[in-house]
Symmetry: C2
Amino acid sequence: MPKKARIPDEIFMKRSLELAVKGCGFVSPNPMVGCVIVKNGKIIAEGYHKKFGQFHAERIAINSAISKGINIKGSTVYVNLEPCSHFGKTPPCTSAIIEHKIKRVVMGTIDPNPLISGKGIAALKKNNIEVTHGILEDECRELNRFFFKYIKTGLPYVTLKAAQTLDGKIADINYRSKWISSLESRKLVHEWRSEYDAVLIGKKTLECDNPSLTARLVKGRNPYRIIIDNELTPDLSYNLYSDKFTNKTIIITSKDPDTALMKILTKRRIRIIKAKIKDDKIILKDALKKLAKIGIASIMVEGGAYTFSEFINQRAADQLTIFTAPMIMGPGIETFRYIHHKKFENAKKVTCEKISSDILINIYL
Amino acid sequence: MPKKARIPDEIFMKRSLELAVKGCGFVSPNPMVGCVIVKNGKIIAEGYHKKFGQFHAERIAINSAISKGINIKGSTVYVNLEPCSHFGKTPPCTSAIIEHKIKRVVMGTIDPNPLISGKGIAALKKNNIEVTHGILEDECRELNRFFFKYIKTGLPYVTLKAAQTLDGKIADINYRSKWISSLESRKLVHEWRSEYDAVLIGKKTLECDNPSLTARLVKGRNPYRIIIDNELTPDLSYNLYSDKFTNKTIIITSKDPDTALMKILTKRRIRIIKAKIKDDKIILKDALKKLAKIGIASIMVEGGAYTFSEFINQRAADQLTIFTAPMIMGPGIETFRYIHHKKFENAKKVTCEKISSDILINIYL
């Protein structure tokens, strides 16, 4: 019988990515990881990291094979991220791979953590396991861009999401904005809310829109909801302070609450994170560092103009996601009204796509 | 021998469109037309309308076959537009089709001119020629959208073309704009200049940019260059009034030139078109009607803010073509600064694509 042509590694890596994404919204601040075990060109087991604190993808795939009595000796493991080689909340994945006499491991990217990057590969090679890495590397990095940023910098990945008109306005002069983007665009935003660890708004947006910032238009978990309120004068009747998800509300401020306020916030399980200020403005990177410390690895900033502008001026944004609706507002509130001349000439990537009648522009900074 | 499966009409219609587009920039105000003659599933002759006043595509294809001694009797003719059945600058195409005993004619669209629409089909059917129409109809209509507008309304097709920043500015507060869009975007604009019959600007843009409005970045013919100057006070040192293409310069105004000015304009072959005004503003549709009368079937409006706004406010635009560069201007000149709240909710189509680092948005009104 003629030897079969080897199926390209990309095919199985793509499947790993498909599996990985199933963990979206539940594994943070861990990365999304999918794993496929292949023998004689066929997938014999699969797995993905389902929830923070639980087993990693490699171990889930291996356990799945074992539970079905499948012999994985001599097989190839595909995984979008370098397997861990240290004890964390679960035992190292490399041990399981070595123990079960896997022949070859194919990885998308190596671990971004400089302290452990390459250690998984070394452990495998030491045990004569063939290692290939860099397969669909860009896709693998893109999928876990929140994790990569978080691990490398200790800061969450920050996306500024705006829905504006062709003339760059997020609201009319009376701060009304509800009707700018299409239903499909708004649904997409709710999907993202279930994927980002947190959404963030400024106090003006809270006061104008009284938003809920939940993922109610889709099936998915709700994010943390962060309000920047330097003066710490919250009107506790707003949704974010009074609905049934107040345990997911966080206030960023430089002030200390008085006893009365503290009592109410504690009762409602609303958290306060104190950040440093400069010229009466919250130092965003200080706030972000503190948010990262409580496990928030990704934030979608949803407005308004002042907050967007501050994130750009303080160089605290990683991505701009701008829905542009086919309409002209005329006089109104500019999305980036406090920015003077900013060219994103070093942007890693700029993309566009149609979402219903809107244009979705993404700029990766 | 088994009968071959019939090759779909779309394949040959696509080829007709490919041929038609070769006439782009040279046939206006005629439509772009391509023709393919097919026998036994094979293309045996091709042709396209090359230049206004010259032979139509059908006759060119037929003549090409005859000159090579190819027998076209019993063949199928594919053409993106209904063949003409009247004497214009050239004899009717239907006569040639009938005379050469073509068996079947496949058309993209019927003629948009209500006076002759369907007459070509009738002439063919009367002579027992099988007729199919509506093949790739949308593409055929899109290709000749200038012609369709011109024939149906007696007005040129008008596209507003702007290069703006993410925050909807076409220039900084000092009206500087040269650096907004990428070289690739500017090349595309020059290509369009060679395809539109004319480009048009307002007086302020003339004064700020002193543009040439030629198609110098590409190989192609230059368009007419139209300036709206209601007061008729041209500074004759500007490029449009003094370069070697002044015979392609047209001034739209409501005033009469004095004798001295008229003498210079005549010498430089600069034309004046008088248009009606209302509230001191040029009535654009009146100007457009007069431009159509001298054979201008398509105009690309290149600025500035006042002119863009007037075209939208006076409902005189058919298409918006907006390059959005990945930068924020901050204070500056808004593309549509004189427009209050305009929603393009009935737009026929909205598209987007990447051109280098810019986003190109098209809105077909």
